[in-house]
Symmetry: C2
Subunit: 530 residues, 2 copies
């Protein structure tokens, strides 16, 4: 499969503009030969017009056929073969093994949505049958289900070229729900995006989907993304990235004549709070576990633990020594882009310059290649942390700050300054959980996922995974970007009142032809209605 | 029960400010004797501090006890007796019979939420059990359920002094979900609000709820509402009212350091689209039905049908004559406030002044009393309607515009100019539905509730009712303010990873002690986990 470098406006290739850019290879600080054409505003217009037309048709395509489309996408992605992994490795600096795992996760995500569509109960069908003889007024027949919303704009992330990108956590559920998708390809991995877009287009054509069900445009600046979000035909935005980028899109979307939702996953420091007894009993092991979590994937996970809270207690020195030694032993890794790498060291230096912050360890092993991130950890007192909001912010990369509190009272005060988080981890003996109810409640209130005795890295793709959290972790704490419920971002409920059975969607017909769970007169059931 | 005229800050009465206002009686154009104290910014601060503290405690109160609280509220409201209805009649001008029905609906809403809490499955509990031996990495135990979000600000509506006010569609589900509620009492019915607040406070005390679970503040201006929405402790806003008011709160909430959701129900014209054969077969009856719906409750329903689309077809003259005669026969009714009444006539005159708009009928019977609204209907051609966006906006009151299109093609173009709506009604013979797929699809895309052969007035309180719609009908088409799913506005999902059974909430324990439906390893079940 060959990289085209042109915009995918539905089934057509388009390169009306003159501006192009190339793939950057972070490990080599060099560029790859292909040129990618930045879309013009005119191309954005054509894309959205096509998407709007496609919506009318795609919303009528049955769930079973949409499931076939998703499976076809996963097949076409696998059919690209190793070329895809190799290109991703060049463009992102991520190791092949990690990329293999991420591709498998992406396929798994698509497959799970196909299964969800085939089972069908996710549509939350609800039926209240008529009571024509009720007084003082008859009760009408009312039925409700989830319906698609319209064209969805997807901004892929830099750190997951597959799972959170062109065919990732936004595209999968948006297509599953019956919405056309328009991807703004991430400029940090345009070649991977190009190959993936071709796979989706092939799959759409092979399964007979309407032209415009999927489009992808290039831009290494902000113009195309802005035009897509502001376009009246756009009905929702999916975004994974920086706080700055997410909030810019959020504001733009709120200022539209018709405001639309931006499901943005932004900043999270994923605090780890270690209670005294646990620290005492697990000092050595904990140092090792944390060092592994902090340095994983060059710290470029949204669930990277950026803050660790401990108290001055038995075991603190043993833990600190272990943590320090384990970080020293870690090896540097290539970061995703030159900009991210530069910013990482800038933010590390910024942290080290703050009052009372002491560097504890920096990884000593350097890998070959450019744009290498060394894991870095530092310490600060609870008091200084509380006084300095700059220390509460995320440092994107393998950095973590160890906050040493006088006692659990100071610890409670310190964590009460934290904003919303994707995850909070509590490291505690079972007996300590009940004894520290206020700390537990505080962490519960600010976290989307509340972990006991585990690190936040590693996001399981399963129905019970909530990957989202109170602001600013995500723009809307109600929604997850991982798992079956992520489809709820791209649907809305609709009631049908007084429609005869034969004109209702299958989900709401008396005979329940799809055999799905429904709420019938306020009782869950798979039964048909007589 | 006596009206206090003071702010309810939790269980305490407070009147720190000097500014007061009185109840206006629209039918008599006079004022009632009691003075209501506008809250000060300091009182707002005290209220929110108390609400924040109460949240920590109330979130721990079991669902069964919250259900008792809701039932106690309904009992205390009924215990006020006829005084409540009489006061509402004075303050709103709405007839006693209508208010009796609305009170019953309010009790019904509270009871339905108590039942929802007792049954428990609404929490969307989901469990994925661990796979410790999975390779390459073990699968952790992850469980998920809905949890409360924190203090909710409620702005009651002017047109429903019970069902959409102090103990209405926002307060009920917000309290049911485990959130403290702070009501900004509507200045158009402060006495009703005062009595209802006392009922809620009594119920909270009687059932042992924490102080601060409910507060209510007065203001006949915007200062208190603004301060409440901007307060960092506020986590969501419920609002029913005008487009202008809703959008002002929406913008305010989006510009906060931490943006919060405003569930605003705003403007809707609830179009009725009549296809040719249906018009021909039902000309006389339709005129009567529409006249009833347009004039119901002085047209002061959010589901009032403001636009009716017909084509130049057999039956048009018979229909128009019938509609005109039925409107002429209607009787005027008292509007809620002098401002609303004045604005109604201003907007009617504004409509009549538009090019090609012709007055068809104005109700000829006048009731006694001040602030009387006469039902008014007018006609306009499809062409002029399409060309003039001013005619697409809501006129709050018993006004409706009949849009006479050349044919169904022009009708399709006309309705393609409509924005999002709470409801759309299609009046059609069954055979016409399939023959006009584009009209059907267009109405489906813009409506929250899609009605066949029925008028939009009359909102059934049942699980399948979606009372919400694409912008600007509501600020977020994903959520309803009526029915069990309205609780979803005031919760967020939270995952628990790696917690031992005894530390999990009852909803997520292996034994399923609450006997609720759960998604266990992706299968719906009420079974315990072995």
């Amino acid at each position: 499969m060959e990289i085209k470098g042109k915009n995918y406006i539905g089934y057509s290739l388009s390169s009306q503009g003159d501006r192009t850019f190339q793939s950057y290879v972070p490990a080599k600080d060099s560029f790859l030969p292909e040129h990618f054409h930045t879309a013009t505003i005119d191309e954005v217009e054509q894309t959205m017009l096509l998407a709007k037309q496609a919506f009318g048709k795609y919303a009528q395509v049955s769930a079973a056929k949409r499931a076939d489309f998703l499976i076809a996408i996963s097949e076409e992605i696998m059919a690209i073969g190793d070329v895809l992994l190799e290109r991703a490795n060049l463009e992102t600096g991520l190791p092949i093994a990690r990329l293999q795992g991420e591709r498998a996760r992406t396929i798994n995500q698509l497959t799970q949505f196909a299964e969800l569509l085939r089972e069908g109960s996710w549509m939350d069908a609800s039926i209240d049958t008529a009571l024509p003889d009720r007084t003082p007024v008859p009760k009408p027949d009312i039925r409700k289900m989830l319906v698609p919303i319209g064209p969805v704009i997807v901004f892929g992330s830099s750190n997951f070229p597959f799972a959170y990108s062109v065919a990732g956590v936004d595209t999968g559920p948006a297509l599953a729900a019956g919405n056309p998708v328009i991807v703004k390809a991430h400029a940090a991995h345009p070649g991977v995006s190009d190959l993936t877009a071709q796979a989706i287009v092939k799959a759409a054509q092979r399964t007979g989907m309407p032209d415009g069900v999927f489009s992808m445009l290039y831009d290494d600046g902000f113009e195309v993304g802005t035009a897509l979000v502001k376009h009246p035909a756009s009905k929702a935005v999916g975004f994974t990235g920086s706080m700055k980028g997410g909030m810019a899109l959020f504001k733009m979307a709120q200022e539209r004549e018709e405001p639309i939702a931006v499901f943005a996953e932004m900043g999270s420091v994923n605090p780890i709070v270690v209670l005294p007894e646990y620290l005492e009993h697990n000092a050595l092991e904990l140092g090792k576990t944390l060092a592994g979590s902090v340095s994983l994937g060059a710290g470029q996970f949204c669930t990277n633990p950026g803050l660790v809270f401990v108290t001055k207690t038995q075991g603190l020195i043993a833990f600190t020594d272990s943590y320090k030694n384990e970080i020293l032993k870690t090896t540097s890794a290539t970061m995703l882009t030159a900009g991210i790498c530069k910013n990482y060291y800038k933010l590390c230096d910024h942290a080290f310059e703050q009052e009372d912050v002491n560097k504890l360890a920096v990884s000593e092993q350097m890998s070959e290649g450019q744009n290498q991130a060394q894991a870095s950890i530092a310490t600060v007192s609870g008091e200084s942390f509380i006084a300095n909001p700059k220390l509460h912010e995320e440092v994107f990369g393998p950095f973590s700050l160890l906050v040493i509190c006088e006692d659990t009272n100071e610890m409670l005060e310190a964590i009460s300054h934290l904003k919303g988080q994707l995850t909070c981890s509590l490291m505690a003996e079972e007996s300590e959980v009940n004894a520290h109810a206020e700390i537990v409640n505080q962490l519960a209130q600010i976290s989307g996922r509340f972990i006991l005795n585990g690190v936040p890295t590693g996001v399981e793709v399963c129905p019970s995974m909530h990957h989202g959290g109170p602001f600013p972790a995500t723009a809307d704490a109600k929604f997850t970007s991982v798992g079956r419920h992520s489809i709820l971002r791209f649907v809305r409920p609709q009631s049908f009142q007084g429609w005869p059975d034969e004109l209702l969607p299958d989900e709401l017909k008396n005979s329940n032809p799809l055999g799905i769970f429904r709420l019938v007169n306020n009782q869950f059931s798979k039964d048909a209605i007589k």
